[in-house]
Symmetry: C2
Subunit: 463 residues, 2 copies
């Protein structure tokens, strides 16, 4: 179902009045709920009390609530959203023309803010609840730096202190991201550092290490739990994050509804799952309630194929094995993906919500190799103008493939994908692609098996 | 005159139907016209024929036409504009709150496109007319890279070849900008190069040179005039560019009119003058026709003070002295401003249109030093979210100062400024500011006099 082509503008903007006033919790419509987080010592579900040592109170409530369908978005958060939202739902007229497809392609563009991605949607929510609880600051880790940047913007706005542990190799190789965070007033420490016990231990054991996300998480959690008035916040994977990111899907649905467009296919890239989970939440909800049927496609890199080749088991979320266990599609917390420029998709696991929806058949999954993704990114940039982030380009590649299938069949399907961010800080990767020196790598079954072997084994959680 | 505060959204977006369909040529409403370009050899006005060796035909017509008030924007250009325009007119609620000012502050944000600035508005127009003329390619120079990026996007869209000569020091220090251009298919050559006669001469004379804009212009012009089917295009200063950039001002005025807001003060940063000229064109037109009265403020860096301390004389536009003479406020074509991170404001001269409007008292001018501008940028980023370009931050500083004056007087003035772009590729500068190592420099009268001494002297053009 599509409105007249000419009636649909290049960019659909909701008015401020039309912006969502509530987050939507897709768990409320799932008969089989995502599995709860487990205490790694006892293998019992984490209690609110246990979680509140690490996370803010209201965020813990959101994390554990599988039943409430809608959560009001506080006015302060809505005011912040108005600075960079609603994000446009773009009709990709130029891409359609370039492909010669009868398909109608739409993308929800989340890159029009200084953090350059959708991460800001959850950053402001998490910072808000921390501030409301009377905390003085939060800690977090960041790899490529999108999450750290988003959180630094949110904390600057609310007047909250922020300590970021940035993976040392990124701290040195991505000085621009680091400087954005500093400009927004965050303190940025290369990880591992001498400022934490766990950091000192790691440095003693591995003097030359350039760090890892797992290590940075451990340092951030140590500082959060040992500093009065501090808590730790996380940018993906968690249920609360998918809840906040539902604003992407709600706006997308409202914009499509405004023009009477029903999508046939909805596509998102999947790393930790926060963008994909948010984008598809309201559509998956309709499927779960039996009201509608869509094809939902998660796209991941072939070098880190958690959904397409992983195991659906309880596993650690971090390499350091300090966090609770989550049931998810995982490659094992010790799996180190080969270098891939889509840093945001290099997580070994997947959001429990997205994992369970995939397990139930609501979400299908596919994987692409790096160079074909960059070719799609370049084609897209040259006709649609926007230089996409490598992560987002996985969704672009899938959307283009589906549109080309429509060209063969003559079907005028409506394809919607999430363009999560811009690639302004990923130009080292584009340079490799431009120079023809980019390579692909697909892990062998043996390499994956090695990763699976590190998954904790306990009754009901055998490989 | 202001509508109820609560009626005005954070961001005013025009609909596609409301977007301007014509450019406005402010020269048509000027009784005293900007002085014509002169042939540097004869000191006679450049003819269309002379200019057409270098520039595209229709652009030459636009360049020379002082009488036609409106030029239709071709449908193809309007379609391209729809990909990233209308740009939002943002009500700076958060900045107002932070300053505690009764003033209402608005900014027209031109940074939401991959080139990161307003340059794209003229790039697509110039590429379109080149394509329409049946040319196969264009050449240009770029310093910091915003113009080159914008032009590469426009040429990729239209299927036009592009050869960019990039100042060698920028080519090496700003590899990211270079890679964006390459991703859009442009060939990028560090200047001076061995590929042109003028480049080889310069390299022979100055073997270790890191290049200059003047040299890059000379190389680009040589290639354009010696390659069949090629012309040269320029991103600022020229009348045609101010004409294209009038879309900024027309959209701004339409958005303000929609909410019944009349600005009291309009502020823009001024380098070559294209953004400022475009932003203020429709407002200056009302002043010239005696319909309205506004305060219009041009803001420049104290290190390159063409409007506030320059001479209003005919001068070369380029250091290489190959281009026509333009009458403008100038510091002399040999003036080398001290290092200043607002690369886009380091031009020794000023658009003839802006110069003449300043001469007539329509535009006032002021200059700020670098560190106070970056302080304003940081303050702005922390409350409004957007990380501004150093150039744009000059306008931010002036808007904040005017808003603080309103705080003293209690006046609820409407202040509008142009936020020309984002600072994602300027983080080396932000790092200097964050580290406290940024310095200011104001040229002495003696240094300025040295620059003035190189201005060509002929009857009627004496210092």
């Amino acid at each position: 179902m599509t409105a007249n082509r000419n009636e649909i503008p290049y960019k659909i903007y909701l008015t401020e009045d039309e912006m969502p006033k509530q987050y939507y919790n897709v768990r409320a419509d799932m008969k089989e709920k995502p599995a709860p987080l487990l205490n790694p010592a006892t293998h019992q579900p984490m209690t609110a009390e246990e979680l509140e040592h690490v996370f803010c109170r209201e965020l813990v409530e959101q994390e554990l609530d599988n039943d409430t369908a809608y959560f009001d978005i506080p006015q302060e958060i809505r005011d912040f959203y108005k600075m960079y939202r609603p994000s446009p739902l773009v009709r990709a007229y130029c891409l359609e023309k370039k492909l010669g497809t009868p398909a109608h392609i739409y993308y929800k563009f989340e890159g029009n803010n200084t953090s350059g991605s959708h991460k800001l949607n959850s950053a402001i929510a998490q910072a808000y609840y921390a501030k409301k609880q009377g905390l003085t600051g939060v800690t977090t880790e960041t790899g490529a730096g999108q999450w750290g940047t988003a959180l630094s913007m949110a904390c600057a706005y609310l007047g909250l202190d922020l300590k970021v542990f940035m993976v040392k190799v990124s701290y040195e190789q991505k000085p621009f991201r680091r400087e954005v965070m500093r400009t927004y007033g965050a303190s940025v420490t290369p990880s591992p550092s001498e400022t934490t016990e766990v950091g000192r231990e790691i440095l003693k054991a591995h003097p030359g290490t350039t760090g890892s996300l797992g290590c940075a998480i451990s340092e951030a959690v140590e500082v959060a739990t040992s500093t009065p008035g501090y808590r730790y916040v996380l940018g993906s994977v968690l249920n609360q994050v998918v809840l906040h990111q539902s604003i992407i899907g709600l706006e997308t649905k409202a914009a499509l509804d405004k023009y009477g467009v029903t999508p046939d296919i909805i596509i998102g890239c999947a790393g930790g799952g926060s963008n994909l989970g948010g984008l598809i939440s309201p559509f998956a909800g309709e499927m779960l309630r039996g009201e509608k049927d869509y094809r939902i496609i998660a796209v991941e890199p072939a070098s880190c194929p958690s959904l397409t080749r992983g195991k659906y088991l309880y596993d650690f979320c971090d390499t350091g094995e300090v966090c609770p266990l989550a049931k998810m599609y995982t490659l094992g917390s010790q799996f180190i993906p080969s270098p891939n420029h889509a840093g945001g998709l290099r997580f070994h696991g997947m959001s429990p919500i997205v994992s369970e929806l995939h397990h139930q058949g609501i979400i299908e999954a596919r994987a692409y190799e790096q160079t074909e993704v960059f070719q799609a990114a370049e084609d897209f940039a040259r006709c649609e103008g926007i230089l996409p982030a490598p992560e987002s380009s996985h969704a672009i590649k899938a959307a283009m493939d589906e549109a080309l299938k429509c060209k063969e069949t003559g079907e005028a399907k409506n394809i919607v994908f999430g363009l999560t961010g811009t690639g302004y800080f990923d130009l080292t990767a584009y340079q490799q692609f431009n120079d023809g020196t980019m390579t692909d790598y697909i892990p062998t079954d043996e390499e994956l098996q090695e990763g699976f072997n590190a998954i904790p084994q306990f009754p009901g959680n055998e490989i």
